[in-house]
């Protein structure tokens, strides 16, 4: 828990105050708002106090408080002042365009800043370690008959062996998962985020020790190093060092030998405590004997500075032959090892058993592109409006030229104006980011902070962005406008030609193309994910509670008691204890032997489920042949297998019935196939269904409980089950999830993409529509005279409106034709990541085009409606 004194006002706000405030006021102002902050902290809570503090900082942003630049007396400085003054007058005079320009640009910039935050965070993973360039992780590629796997983990003593065999491998450290129920006094926690670790961990990774000795803290068995967060959880404000923690099932207590800083979120692993690897050895895991087919260890190697491990890669076949050759031949499995750069793991590694859910270079790319797209759309608005309005300023330019302005000065003037608008938009965008960041964080499931925008080197990005956008948007109008000939302008009383109308149309088409692509993309993603979620998985997922208790002696002993107690509740249909569930990734993958047609045995690696008798019934699995496990047949426990349909195909059998009675062996058990079930999806729908073997096993392996409820079950049912549970098992809290939610969680990354994509594409179309609206307003105004004349000559109102709208509609049809092929290619490449994917559906593409066209028409129709009601007398009066 944080004590009141530790909560300080937002640092960036305080920094900002110091940045702008006059020296003589800083001390006092800072003191004042700090005092108010503390009062608010007491009365109204942290969030309010912080908000108020920030608000106060901005309220103090008054002319009288702001630092003055040294006075420079020069003509060009005065000219700039004049440009800015004129620019502000211009903004005030045409409020509609100013609002559209600035707000559109601000929304574009805000989106850009948010995505910038996300992308820089994704790219920052593991770069903070001082040795990050020297560290590589070993990935194991394992080939077994008929299958191939890529694991993020390695055999136990591979690292040690490499250190002793190769001088270029300076050191190694390993991490391995630790599960257990830990208790201190009356506090009990089921720890799932703990790791075994070698003492060298702290030499590799820059996670500082806050107390305790980093060199020795993990060198003895039964030692723990907690993160600050975990230390608070267990001991509150007490000193954690030297305290003893009890682990369920292990006699000897663990002693806390150190407290380290929390693992930064931009790290490819996460844990809240490290347990010494020696502990594992003393528990009987053979961590340094010749166990080559026991994969459990994330293994990191340290190389000399500047060393390229691809040199080592060429020596690896020899190394593998020398150390594992015989073992490989007898097990009929072959290894290859790959070195993964530490800093690449988060974005580029997608192996089995990653330490934490990794990011994805593809989404980083997609969202970078979207950020640039949206920014460009907003810039295009800006350019188009400036070009369209250029004729209105002709007189001013003519006069300036007559009085002696040269072309360069006029260009400077227009660029100053656009940079000013860009700056104003940036300020607004910054507030938008402040406001939108919490929801953006929820959307992407991360915890980004606005401070990151203005830290370190990024602080230089923003002035550059302001200048860049200002120049980009102001360049063309500046060139065109400054090229006007004063004599023409002043003679005719206004330039009549429309500047850059081709460019303007090209830009509009460009905007519409981007918007259409984003809309079609959103439709494709939505359709694909909806079809994934509604896919018949082959088992019952509704009304299913999952309780991952981790397996434990006390549960194994009381399994039947729990079952009979639970089943007594009328809302409970059935209960199954298993090792893995169809929603989890923890299906085992084991060495398997099966009988082929001519009676010989063949081996392969197949996925395996360890279950109890109720599994198939609880999940509603359908039998194609044979029977389910039977409680009354005791031998089922020792020699019965149920396989899925894919297994029979793999075995080369024509029908499921043929499989019954075939000899089969897996996971140290040999017996016969007694039943064949219909294929069900036990992995994500990214991959096709693989062979699956189901067998009964001892209760001690069954760490997950599935509870199938009746349709009418509610929260009260769960609460009553919890009561029963607590009556039997005290050490492990009853924490259940619904299976359908757990299933949806497996598509969390895709759901995030979907949500981000739809929000950003609606923003893009919104900005584009804003621009169209302003453009049509302008164009209606410029065509007032010609429309009036048409009316006088007898053209009906609808015809004029139609002609006016058609000009824009043509552009949107052109945009649709350009965007369909691009959208098609992009969506095909995204869909190729899925095994179950929707087919190409032209309806989606046409629908996307229709949406853009409709929005275009609606935006423009406001103006076309208005021009039908033009009174020619009013517009032609002065001619």
């Amino acid at each position: 828990m944080n004590s009141r004194n530790e909560i300080s006002p937002p640092k960036w706000a305080a920094k900002f105050l110091r940045l702008y405030c006059k020296k003589e006021f800083i001390e006092e102002i800072e003191g004042d708002i700090h005092e108010i902050f503390e009062v608010n902290l007491e009365d109204k809570g942290v969030a309010y106090a912080k908000r108020k503090f920030t608000w106060d900082v901005f309220r103090f942003l008054r002319w009288s408080n702001i630092k003055r630049l040294k006075k420079v007396q020069s003509n060009s400085f005065d000219m700039f002042k004049n440009y800015i003054k004129i620019a502000f007058r211009g903004l005030k005079r045409s409020k509609l365009y100013s609002v559209i320009n600035i707000s559109g640009l601000a929304v574009g910039m805000a989106v850009f800043m948010l995505i910038f935050l996300y992308v820089t965070n994704e790219l920052s993973y593991d770069k903070y370690h001082s040795k990050s360039g020297q560290i590589h992780r070993i990935a194991s590629h394992l080939t077994v008959p008929g299958s191939y796997f890529e694991f993020a983990i390695a055999p136990p003593n591979l690292g040690d062996r490499m250190v002793s065999d190769f001088p270029e491998v300076l050191n190694r450290t390993r991490l391995a998962r630790f599960d257990g129920t830990l208790s201190y006094g009356d506090k009990v926690f089921a720890e799932k985020d703990a790791m075994y670790s070698d003492p060298e961990f702290f030499e590799f990774f820059d996670i500082p020790m806050l107390s305790g000795d980093a060199a020795t803290a993990l060198s003895e068995p039964f030692s723990l190093v907690l993160t600050e967060k975990a230390a608070n959880k267990y001991f509150g404000s007490e000193n954690a060092l030297g305290k003893l923690i009890k682990v369920d099932g292990i006699e000897q207590p663990f002693s806390v030998r150190g407290v380290m800083a929390n693992v930064p979120q931009n790290t490819h692993f996460d844990f809240n405590m490290l347990v010494s690897m020696e502990t594992r050895k003393s528990q009987g895991f053979m961590s340094d004997t010749g166990q080559w087919f026991f994969l459990d260890y994330y293994t990191y190697l340290l190389f000399p500075v500047g060393y390229n491990p691809s040199e080592l890669q060429s020596k690896m076949p020899d190394f593998v032959e020398r150390n594992i050759g015989d073992a490989q031949r007898s097990a009929n499995q072959t290894y290859e090892f790959e070195f993964q750069k530490l800093t690449d793991i988060h974005l580029k590694s997608h192996l089995d058993v990653e330490a934490k859910e990794n990011g994805d270079i593809q989404s980083v790319k997609i969202f970078s592109i979207i950020a640039v797209f949206i920014l460009v759309i907003a810039c295009v608005n800006f350019m188009n409006l400036s070009i369209s309005r250029s004729t209105r300023r002709a007189k001013e330019i003519g006069l300036r030229k007559v009085v002696g302005a040269v072309k360069r000065q006029l260009i400077t003037q227009f660029l100053t104006e656009s940079v000013l608008i860009s700056f104003l938009s940036f300020v607004l965008a910054f507030f938008l980011v402040l406001w939108a960041l919490p929801s953006f964080n929820t959307l992407i499931g991360q915890d980004l902070m606005v401070e990151n925008l203005i830290q370190g080197t990024f602080i230089a990005v923003w002035p550059a962005l302001i200048l860049f956008i200002g120049f980009l948007a102001g360049f063309y109008p500046a060139i065109v406008l400054s090229g006007f000939k004063p004599i023409n302008i002043l003679k005719s009383g206004g330039a009549s030609r429309q500047g850059g109308s081709l460019l303007k149309r090209v830009l509009v088409v460009f905007q519409l193309v981007i918007s259409t692509i984003l809309i079609i993309g959103t439709l494709v993603i939505n359709r694909q994910l909806t079809s994934l979620q509604n896919q018949n998985l082959g088992f019952e997922k509704e009304q299913m509670l999952i309780f991952n208790h981790g397996g434990d002696g006390s549960i194994a002993a009381n399994m039947e008691t729990i079952r009979s107690e639970f089943i007594r509740n009328p809302q409970v249909k059935s209960i199954s204890f298993t090792r893995s569930t169809p929603a989890g990734d923890n299906a085992g993958n084991w060495y398997t032997e099966y009988e082929v047609a001519d009676g010989e045995m063949q081996n392969a690696s197949m996925y395996g489920f360890l279950v109890d008798h109720e599994f198939a019934r609880t999940y509603g699995l359908e039998f194609l042949a044979g029977r389910d496990f039977n409680r009354s047949l005791v031998t089922d426990m020792d020699d019965a297998f149920v396989v899925n349909e894919s297994t029979t195909i793999k075995m080369g059998l024509q029908s499921p019935e043929e499989a019954i009675g075939k000899t089969f062996a897996q996971f140290g058990k040999k017996g016969k196939i007694i039943g064949v079930i219909k294929d069900f999806n036990y992995m994500t729908l990214h991959s096709a269904i693989e062979p699956l073997v189901i067998q009964l096993t001892d209760p001690q392996y069954l760490g997950v409980m599935s509870i199938k409820l009746e349709a009418g079950a509610d929260l009260a049912t769960i609460e009553s089950l919890e009561e029963i549970w607590e009556g039997v098992i005290t050490a492990i809290p009853f924490e259940v999830t619904f299976l359908d939610q757990a299933l949806d969680n497996r598509y969390a990354a895709e759901m995030r993409t979907k949500r981000l994509f739809s929000s950003f594409s609606s923003l893009a179309i919104f900005i584009a529509a804003l621009g169209l609206f302003a453009l049509s307003t302008l164009s209606a105004e410029q065509q007032k005279r010609s429309i009036s004349i048409r009316k006088v000559l007898g053209a009906p109102g609808q015809e004029i409106a139609l002609k006016f709208s058609m000009a824009f509609l043509r552009l949107s049809v052109l945009a649709l034709m350009i965007s369909i092929p691009i959208a098609y290619l992009a969506s095909e490449s995204w869909l190729s990541n899925f095994n179950y994917r929707i087919d190409f559906d032209p309806v989606l593409f046409i629908l996307g085009g229709l949406i853009t066209a409709t929005i275009t028409l609606l935006t423009v129709s406001f103006q076309s409606f208005k021009i039908t009601r033009i009174n020619p007398a009013q517009n032609l009066r002065s001619e």
Partner: protein, 125 residues
């Protein structure tokens, strides 16, 4: 549409800004500073206004008013001691000057002259 621009000179600008006229909020702040008797700084003035006048006052508004009054010579100030509650920052304590008292009296007299000729108000007095 014709537009007229009025250019301010340095001279008339300074007169309008630093005259002896007291704004409503300025007068309130001046009164509070006088009433707080030596313990007046931005936060205490703000709290007092919020409590007694029952209206919201922003700290930055109070702050700039205090300085404006000092520029007019109605207030005087000195740096006070730091306290722990302010993140270790010291505060500027304000006190009213003789001309400040004078300005308050003038404002009061001005009101009195009008009050005396309004029957409903003079009757109450």
């Amino acid at each position: 549409m014709p537009q007229y621009y009025v250019y301010k000179t340095e001279d008339n600008e300074s007169k309008t800004m630093k005259g002896n006229h007291l704004g409503e909020f300025e007068e309130l702040v001046l009164l509070v500073v006088a009433a707080l008797q030596g313990n007046a700084y931005a936060v205490s003035v703000k709290d007092e206004i919020e409590e007694k006048a029952n209206r919201k006052a922003n700290i930055s508004a109070v702050h700039s008013t205090l300085y404006r009054l000092e520029d007019k010579g109605l207030l005087d100030s000195e740096i006070g001691g730091a306290t722990n509650t302010r993140g270790g920052k010291s505060k500027r304590l304000f006190k009213i000057t003789a001309s400040g008292i004078k300005a308050l009296q003038n404002a009061e007299e001005l009101r009195a002259t009008f009050r005396n000729v309004i029957p409903q108000l003079s009757g109450l007095k």
